[in-house]
Amino acid sequence: MSEIKYSKEHEWIKLEGEIATIGITKHATEMLGDIVFAELPEKGSNVEKDGTAGVVESTKAASDVYTPVSGEVVDLNQSIVDDPSKINQDPENSAWFFKLKIKDKSEMDTLMNKDEYDIFAKESST
């Protein structure tokens, strides 16, 4: 069974076993506008919860991507680097950013579930 959670920085995280897949939410892409650049963390590097783990840029501005949990980067989605517009097209599915082997499963408990995030996103955009 997989579990999907959301961060206040508008990342989603799907946990399967000890591997977490992380991307940015549809709401985030709507705020950013057309994404034209994506930078991912290095494979094999260790990232800390709430630390920066990538960058996305729209035509307007650059924004950091944060990791909602700590872990080791085990896989990267090169296709979004090659064609960043994929992030706007399918942000919460095929346009994932990176996969982590997570360090501490309890960090998931600090994140929001879908309903909580939807309310949070709605409030933060008004």
């Binding site: 506008g33 650049f37 035509t59 307007k60």
Partner: protein, 367 residues
């Protein structure tokens, strides 16, 4: 102070605009389809830009006014024909740029289009320089609508017959539904197009008519990517009080005739820079790969010395890659010079390149 709204505010809202405050106005940064799609629509079809925040300064006078304005602008205004336009600058004594502008000879005087953020200050400076001798109206009763892109001529002529006969950088008065409209063939996107000055009360109705004919509203976001691909300067970025037209690589806009005679504000510095060169100069910059170097990004040479700074940088949808402009020390300004851009602490390779990034298709002559 409350932000101002243009006459098209309701139309922007109806078209699902996202607004930003720009120069004291609530302006649309983009609409529902987004910047990249708006950019492409302008390049391939026809985009409408609300530029009503820009200043429309009418100055009325005859030969005296021409003489007085020639003491201010580096232009051969005596030979500027009726309804013809020139790009120019309002400069300080040191040739620093207070504003870049378009000046058009109209019956009874001149019409000067000014940047929104500069217009009040320009008005004050000009009033003082002209010793309050002439009637000057910074007209808030008129809106300014640009229509840009290859289909614009077809669309606009179906609403205002005769505009198709205008040459690039010239204009004329037209009448539509008893409204006096001044149309020039000009713009700031690198595309063929027009700028339409009309009364505020008619602006909304007129613009909806253009939309009915197939043109789409385009926000400031795409206006920026379009002008940057076209290699055009934006005041507050490429142009400012501490840069001269020669440094901005805009010497083409200074009349050769006037340089020989001098006697305009800033002419000493301009002449000196034309004869002896400048320390820094504006260039086009093409980053390698997809990295975007934004304003204030530092520029280094191959031996790691800082040689300049980016003034505008974004992703160019028609170029399908990053584009930038900036100032570098003159000796590094040659085309194909290898440089490095420091983005988020890392140095990325880039090349000095010619401008524009995207080739323009202005209509030069139709007659």
């Amino acid at each position: 102070m409350d932000t101002k709204k243009t006459s098209l505010y309701q139309l922007h809202q109806d078209s699902k605009a996202k607004f930003v405050e720009f120069a004291g106005y609530q302006m649309p940064i983009q609409y529902a389809e987004g910047i990249v799609e708006e950019h492409r629509y302008t390049r391939n079809h026809s985009g409408i830009f609300d530029v009503s925040h820009m200043g429309q300064l009418f100055i009325y006078g005859q030969e005296d006014l021409v003489d007085d304005l020639e003491r201010i602008f580096p232009l051969d205004l005596k030979n500027l024909k009726l309804n013809h336009s020139k790009y120019s600058f309002l400069m300080s004594d040191n040739a620093g740029i207070y504003d870049d502008l378009i000046i058009t000879k109209i019956k009874d005087g001149f019409l000067i289009i000014l940047n929104a953020a500069c217009k009040e200050n320009d008005y004050k400076i000009l009033k003082e320089l002209l010793n309050d001798k002439y009637k000057m109206i910074l007209d808030e009763e008129r809106s300014l609508i640009a229509i840009q892109g290859p289909k614009s001529v077809e669309i606009l002529k179906s609403v205002i017959q005769g505009v198709e006969n205008l040459n690039f950088m010239s204009g004329n008065w037209f009448t539509l539904d008893d409204h006096n409209i001044y149309v020039t063939r000009s713009g700031y996107t690198g595309e063929d197009g027009f700028e339409v000055s009309l009364t505020n009360e008619f602006a909304d109705r007129f613009t909806r008519r253009l939309i009915d004919k197939g043109a789409k509203l385009i926000g400031l976001g795409a206006r920026d990517t379009l002008r940057l691909e076209a290699g055009l300067c934006l005041y507050g970025h490429e142009l400012s009080k501490d840069k001269t037209p020669v440094e901005a690589n805009l010497k083409w806009a200074i009349s050769k005739e006037r340089i020989l005679k001098g006697n305009f504000i800033g002419s000493d510095i301009i002449t000196k820079q034309l004869n002896h060169g400048v320390n820094k100069i504006r260039v086009g910059i093409k980053p390698e790969g997809r990295i975007i170097a934004r304003e204030k990004t530092k520029i280094y040479n191959e031996s790691n010395s800082e040689i300049g700074e980016i003034t505008s940088g974004t992703f160019g949808p028609s170029v399908n890659g990053p584009v930038a402009m900036g100032y570098v020390k003159n000796k590094f300004s040659k085309k194909d010079t290898k440089i490095f851009l420091e983005v988020r602490g890392k140095k990325h390779p880039a090349t000095i390149c010619g401008l524009p990034f995207y080739k323009k298709s202005y209509v030069k002559g139709v007659n």
